[in-house]
């Protein structure tokens, strides 16, 4: 099991970072399947205005602990070789990626279910707060459903 790096990334998670994370697993030839989830900031329309970015903040002390608990729980529930999770803090523009989950295993059976589980747990249990910014000075606080 590879060591878990810091979950939080400042700003958007670039496609180059994602590609590079995938490339790093090509030396692990016991892996047969990767499941990936990417959360992307949507340009939602709200009463004539459009979300241009989300600014993320977190209660980091608890968030780091929760990410750790979710990781341990996923490793217990699913038979994974590797698991990595990254979440943005700070400003992420519409269209950019703010959440990246990568679960790897010897076979495909578990990776899709593992990824879905981890994303649900992050949305429900990690104290991260998204401030949806409109093009003007106004904003709205995002709430997960």
């Amino acid at each position: 099991m590879s060591e878990h790096n810091n979950v939080f990334k400042t700003g958007a998670i670039s496609s180059e970072f994602i590609g590079s994370a995938i490339a790093k697993h090509q030396s692990k030839t016991e892996i047969g399947a990767h499941g990936i989830f990417l959360g992307q900031v949507r340009a939602d329309a709200v009463g004539g205005k459009t979300v241009t970015a989300i600014e993320y903040t977190a209660y980091e002390e608890m968030a780091t602990q929760k990410f750790h608990e979710i990781r341990e729980s996923a490793l217990t529930k699913f038979n994974l070789t590797c698991l990595h999770t990254y979440h943005s803090l700070g400003l992420v523009k519409a269209g950019a990626v703010c959440l990246f989950v990568l679960a790897s295993a010897t076979s495909r059976k578990e990776v899709c279910r593992a990824v879905a589980y981890i994303v649900d747990e992050i949305k429900a249990g990690v104290p991260i707060f998204g401030k949806e910014l409109f093009g003007d000075a106004s904003h709205r606080w995002k709430v997960n459903r």
Binding site: A58, Y59, M62, I122, K123, P127, G130, W141
Partner: protein, 77 residues
């Protein structure tokens, strides 16, 4: 007991500060909740939780830590 409360997300807009020190005479979470609702009536509209030392505390538990956090609904991902 003096406690330091950090306000996150939309809560810091209601309190107009990111943190403050408050003096508690009673130490249950529900006592602090009542005190905060008197000071900031607009908090009624938000489903907030109190965390201590990185853990959510239920209403009936006691506050034993000086550093607290008031958390609005989560919206990660």
């Amino acid at each position: 007991m003096d406690v330091n409360i950090e306000y996150f997300g939309m809560l810091s807009e209601i309190t107009r500060c990111s943190e403050e020190t408050i003096s508690l005479s009673q130490n249950r979470v529900s006592d602090l909740r009542a005190l905060l609702l008197r000071k900031y009536p607009a908090l009624e509209q938000v489903d907030f939780q109190l965390a201590q030392n990185g853990e959510i505390r239920s209403e009936e538990t006691g506050i034993s830590h000086r550093n607290l956090a008031l958390l609005p609904p989560f919206s990660g991902g």
